[in-house]
């Protein structure tokens, strides 16, 4: 079967309980913007890339490897991987 190209999004966030001064600063700035009622702001990173894989599971396992070994530091961060549709045959 020819490989398909899957689009991947990896979101990286600080683990719960790890201080997030950036998120806290954003949250404190919101009243000055006139926005009320916002809490629990956490800052993170988002990475997007494409993976040529035989199927979705193959794409997911390779994307997880990238997320776990490079994009997130498990000591302080956690990641979530989303694999989109893979319509295009390469």
């Amino acid at each position: 079967m020819p490989p398909e190209r899957f689009s991947v999004t990896v979101e990286v966030q600080l683990r719960p309980g790890i201080a997030d001064p950036q998120g806290a600063t954003i949250e404190r700035a919101l009243p000055a913007l006139g926005v009320r009622g916002v809490s629990g702001v956490r800052a993170g990173k988002s990475f997007r890339f494409e993976v040529d894989a035989t199927d979705r599971d193959d794409a997911l396992s390779r994307a997880r490897l990238v997320a776990d070994r490079l994009l997130a530091n498990p000591v302080i961060e956690e990641s979530s991987v989303t694999v989109g549709a893979g319509p295009a045959t390469v």
């Binding site: 790890i18 201080a19 001064p21 950036q22 600063t25 490079l70 530091n73 000591v75 302080i76």
Partner: protein, 230 residues
Amino acid sequence: MARVGVVVFPGSNCEHDAVAALSRLGARAELIWHGATSVSEYDALVLPGGFAHGDYVRPGAIARFSPVMEPVRRFAADGGPVLGICNGFQVLCEAGLLPGALQKNRGLRFLCTTVTVRIDSEASVLTRGVPAGTELRIPINHFEGNFTCDDRTASVLRAEGRVVLRYVDNPNGSVDDIAGICNKGGNVVGLMPHPERASDPLLGSGDGNVLLAALLASLETSARAGVGTG
């Protein structure tokens, strides 16, 4: 004469300072490109400060995969002294050679100032023979210097005497005021302050020489004892 290799990653910027400071203390210090696949000719290694690989993703996250890191890992596993300064400390944590992680400073400020640190343990190659309680004035220069680890790791570090240096006045929010730690063997040491930048009173402080001289002295001792890694 002790031969010390100072690893240069793309984006390192304190390698010449490290070479100069170590040379003035009598070592034969040389630069090693990060693509090197062997480090066996050195008695000690230094991972210097800077922004390895642009600090992209996280400081040290990409440097960890530089070719030189595999021989560095073997060198450390054989008991070879490895010193990580600032960015080098971040690289050692990312590589798993030291526990924990360096997070953004509390207060989100880039800190460039001279701080007082106190020696907490003589059990590392950087502090052997330097009495605990000794205070040194050494510059810091970092955005991600906030040492972070879980409670269990922190208590292990304390119990095993692996907190090498503490800040007297914690500038960045580090757990337990930690400025530097070592591995279980005491041969891998990471610290955020820059001893190589405190290598002459003309630079504002010569206190960094206390640490660098202790490192070089520990090499002499291990060479005499026949446990040097050559």
